[in-house]
């Protein structure tokens, strides 16, 4: 009975939806995320799906998951392990049983635990019936049957009916967490507006899930996670790849340069191409090239023509682009190369995250070929990071690599987004036409060491550039021994001088001097911040800094590193930044590495830090 139900207030909660790839778990998770965001929670998400579009149904390989961490306090990660685990079948339970805290709630679809499903998941005994889940609060429901029953009268095939069962789960969780369902109903109307029967089915099943919680006497507790206290402003939910696409359009607008994207589809970067392809009303030109090499070289052509030229990819694509990166370096033209990192080497783990392409970005080309590198640290930060990459590229006439990763690319968080008027202008000037008799010098330089951007169509600026070594100032081909050494040093110096035009490194959390600095880069930001903050609350004298500028480093980084007794560099790789830092600053930085295709958990970072400070 309703009056016997208690409402428990929580500061935060972690829910994971897990099911077969075809069970609609990503959609369910996204809907709950949007609902939480609109309600005013702070949150972080982590979609976790197989590389196969449709792996064999019912197998562990085919399990798709979506983890959501939301709270009334600041949330920096998708959460280490979950409080509530929804499993649509046996395989989903098997894949996630180590991912739920003791005493947590498991909501299981009993229809997914029949003999066939158990066998597909290689489970010898039905976990829902034996004692193996006695440490958890197990909620069993026949979601498949109840879904079918709530829409028996609709003229839909059984397959189509069963496809609605994720809505039952969503409805039930909305009940559990005391939520309104309006945003999902609105979403369903938009998605299925042209298929009234399907729309009706989804809405009915959603409501049936909610009512099930309400009318079944089985459940005695509901939860409430209050709004978070967040800085005042207007917010939206944002995923990393979305933010990257928006940041590119913003940089195009703020620089006055038309945006050109040359790209070849690759997981997990393709969404940037998909989004930009929609933004035609901003004059964006997207070119789906025949391969990764054409993607970058077409962008080089567009940059030569005066566009803000971009190419997006992931590790294997980066490898194919290496030669063209060298060309852009010698041409000294703007180009933004975005690598949404995934597990490698080779095809590796296409849908899993990793930070293992830092060395590739640093060193992965023939010859001495330094390229500035910028890293994004969270889903919304992709906007700022790509904007900064574009600024450096066009103002310094240089290719710039932006590193994001699969974790932040597909993760979501609330974003207090900027107004166009709050974004800085990106000032650029093309070379001016030359009068008769004047000779244009394509490799003349300014104080940044950047050369003029002289675009075709400008009178008197006809010039030839190419991948052969250049003579400074004239840009003519030169095989002179001294010239080559001079140019190699000059290109390096040009990258180094960017340090004069970027912000100094800041300490994110903790004291300016102390026992330990946790230094991170890229997508580990949230986990490092969460771990350090909690340890600060426990009285540990430690600090956290996250690098945005990976090359060149901010000018004060060396000084910061000297302010701490110890430096710990956690990375989702086998130790890359740590080697660069050791090399550059001659300090005994410690590495902490995880190479499982997964982000850091706050708890494991805290354990590691405690161990170091023992």
């Amino acid at each position: 009975m309703a009056d016997q139900i208690t409402i428990q207030e929580l500061e935060e909660a972690v829910i994971k939806f897990a099911g077969d790839s075809g069970d609609g778990m990503q959609l369910t998770g996204t809907q709950f995320t949007n609902n939480s965001a609109l309600f005013g929670n702070d949150l972080g998400t982590f979609p976790d799906f197989p590389a196969e579009i449709r792996a064999p149904i019912g197998t562990v390989a085919g399990v798709s998951g979506f983890q959501l961490h939301f709270g009334s306090k600041e949330i920096y990660t998708p959460g280490d392990i979950c409080d509530v685990l929804v499993v649509m079948n046996s395989a989903a339970l098997k894949a996630n049983i180590n991912n739920i805290k003791k005493g947590g709630i498991i909501i299981a679809n009993t229809a997914g635990f029949d003999a066939k499903n158990l066998k597909l998941a290689n489970m010898t005994s039905n976990a829902l019936e034996d004692d193996s889940l006695s440490n958890y609060q197990l909620i069993k429901m026949d979601i498949t049957r109840m879904t079918r029953e709530s829409i028996t009268d609709l003229q839909l095939g059984m397959k189509e009916k069963d496809r609605c069962k994720n809505m039952f789960v969503l409805g039930f969780l909305y009940w559990m967490y005391n939520r309104e369902m309006d945003n999902t109903i609105k979403f369903l109307n938009e998605k299925f507006g042209k298929k009234p029967e399907v729309l009706e089915a989804n809405i009915r099943v959603l409501k049936a899930g909610y009512s099930y919680g309400d009318t079944t006497e089985q459940f005695t507790t509901r939860y409430k996670v209050d709004k978070a206290v967040m800085p005042a402003g207007t917010y939206r939910s944002i995923m990393g790849n979305q933010a990257t696409a928006l940041g590119l359009v913003a940089a195009s607008k703020k620089s006055g340069l038309p945006l050109f994207l040359g790209s070849y589809p690759i997981t997990p970067a393709s969404d940037i191409l998909h989004d930009l392809a929609k933004y035609k009303s901003f004059g964006v030109k997207t070119f789906q090239a025949e391969d990764e090499i054409a993607a970058i070289t077409s962008a080089i052509g567009a940059s030569f023509g005066g566009s803000l030229a971009v190419t997006t990819t992931s590790g294997p694509g980066m490898a194919l682009k290496a030669e063209a990166l060298g060309l852009a370096t010698v041409l000294e033209i703007p180009l933004v190369i975005i690598n949404v990192q995934r597990g490698g080497p080779s095809t590796g783990l296409p849908t899993k995250t990793e930070q293992a392409d830092l060395f590739q970005a640093y060193y992965g080309r023939n010859g001495e070929c330094p390229i500035p590198i910028v890293a994004a640290q969270s889903p919304s930060d992709c906007f700022n990071a790509v904007f900064e990459a574009c600024r450096i590229s066009v103002q310094h006439m240089i290719p710039v690599i932006l590193l994001t990763d699969g974790y932040i690319a597909n993760g979501a968080e609330p974003w207090r987004f900027p107004k166009e008027s709050e974004l800085a202008e990106i000032k650029i000037e093309f070379a001016k036409p030359m009068a008769e008799g004047e000779k244009f010098m394509p490799y003349a330089r300014d104080e940044k060491l950047s050369r003029p951007w002289a675009i075709p169509g400008t009178k008197g600026l006809e010039h030839r550039i190419g991948g052969l070594e250049k003579q400074n100032i004239t840009g003519n081909i030169s095989y002179e021994p001294e010239n080559h050494e001079f140019m190699v040093k000059l290109r390096e110096e040009k990258v180094d001088r960017i340090a004069n035009y970027i912000p100094e490194q800041k300490i994110d959390s903790g004291p300016a001097k102390g026992k330990l600095l946790v230094l991170g880069w890229g997508g580990t930001y949230g986990a490092l911040k969460a771990a350090v903050r909690q340890l600060n609350e426990e009285g540990f004298d430690i600090a956290h800094a996250q690098l945005r500028h990976m090359r060149p480093f901010p000018k004060n980084l060396g000084e910061i590193l000297n302010n701490y007794d110890k430096i710990l560099i956690p990375e989702i790789n086998n130790g890359q930044l740590v080697k660069i830092i050791r090399d550059k600053y001659f300090i005994d930085a410690m590495a902490y590495n995880k190479i499982q295709g997964l982000p850091f958990f706050k708890s494991e970072l805290m354990d590691k830090i405690r161990e170091i400070l023992k």
């Binding site: 917010y235 009303s281 070119f287 060309l327 900027p418 166009e420 010039h463 030839r464």
Partner: protein, 346 residues
């Protein structure tokens, strides 16, 4: 009228205006010199301003071309000129974009980009210098070298079957496909002009003699003594005739081309009339590709094999953008960034 006035007040360009201050570094006697000369000869005839012309090349002997031509230019990387040019043309449809490539650059390492450029139909001009050898790397066989070719990397003869570049271009749905040669300046100039005038991707294969590593590869088609019998010059709406006195002709026997002799009773009225618009005929004539030593071989055709009209990639790209802007209005950045659903925290 405005155009006429501009034309008269603008300085009239000459071939000399297209020469640069760079020393030309091709081997003496190289066929590239003639091609450079013919290009410089026709450029002033196009009515373009120098600053609106861009030459893009890959890597290879021919790819030095941009350094010797006073326009904008880029000597890019091996095989990628076509891709660089695609991006430039997409971004800047206003420019006249020329691609200089070779048989190795454009058909081997860059073969993929070549076929994709052709199917997309960017309005660019591809000049494919075919010398059937790798010159810059000093004499390896190329994807157009004939079978049994003895070269540095094939001391016992090549076992590679060669590409037929014209058939390849047709297969990729190129909208303009032609062949010429370095040693026939008038024909080459004519083909260059036709390439330029074509709206869409123009694929012009130019037989070019590498006098160092593959000398006389095309002598049957270029030498006076054999040219008339071995080279077939296609002229629109004219019968296919060749030979010292144009006494030989090509007749179609069903789909099979056969050589007939007009002096031995064949009638001119029965000959194949060349039609550049006919894809089926273009497919057949592109297959006149047997080695001259082959008994009963057909003459090698020169001229325009095929030309058709198809919208260019950059036109359609621009149209799509204009259409979206016409329907939805110019994009507003604030609206885009805010996305669908927002909420306010006080």
């Amino acid at each position: 009228m405005a155009e006429t006035i501009t034309a008269t007040t603008e300085q009239v360009l000459t071939p000399k205006d297209f020469a640069t201050d760079q020393e030309i570094r091709w081997c003496p006697g190289c066929g590239d010199y003639s091609i450079l000369k013919q290009v410089h000869t026709i450029l002033p005839q196009l009515g373009l301003k120098q600053e609106n012309i861009v030459f893009i090349s890959g890597i290879g002997c021919s790819s030095r071309f941009p350094y010797y031509t006073e326009t904008f230019g880029m000597h890019s990387i091996h095989g990628r000129a076509t891709a660089v040019a695609s991006g430039l043309k997409a971004a800047r449809p206003d420019l006249s974009v020329w691609i200089v490539t070779g048989d190795g650059d454009g058909l081997s390492i860059g073969g993929n980009h070549t076929i994709h450029l052709l199917r997309r139909n960017f309005d660019v001009n591809i000049l494919l210098f075919n010398n059937e050898i790798y010159g810059l790397t000093k004499g390896q066989y190329s994807p157009t070298s004939p079978e049994n070719k003895v070269a540095k990397s094939t001391p016992f003869g090549s076992i590679d079957h060669p590409f037929n570049p014209i058939a390849l271009a047709l297969g990729a749905d190129a909208t303009f496909v032609a062949r010429s040669m370095d040693r026939d300046p008038a024909h080459l100039q004519n083909m260059l002009l036709r390439s330029y005038k074509h709206s869409g991707s123009s694929f012009l294969e130019i037989y070019q003699n590498c006098n160092i590593f593959n000398d006389m590869a095309f002598e049957s088609y270029t030498e006076k003594s054999t040219k008339k019998d071995e080279a077939l010059f296609m002229v629109q709406s004219q019968p296919l005739v060749f030979g010292a006195n144009n006494e030989k002709g090509i007749k179609l026997d069903g789909f099979k081309p056969v050589i007939v002799n007009l002096e031995e009773g064949a009638s001119k009225n029965d000959l194949w009339i060349h039609d550049e618009k006919d894809m089926v005929k273009a497919q057949i004539i592109s297959r006149f590709f047997d080695h001259v030593d082959f008994e009963g071989h057909l003459p090698r055709p020169f001229g325009v094999f095929y030309q058709t009209a198809r919208p260019t990639y950059e036109e359609m790209m621009s149209q799509q953008i204009s259409q979206v802007i016409a329907n939805k209005g110019l994009g507003k950045l604030d609206k885009l960034i805010a996305g669908g659903e927002t909420w306010i925290i006080e």
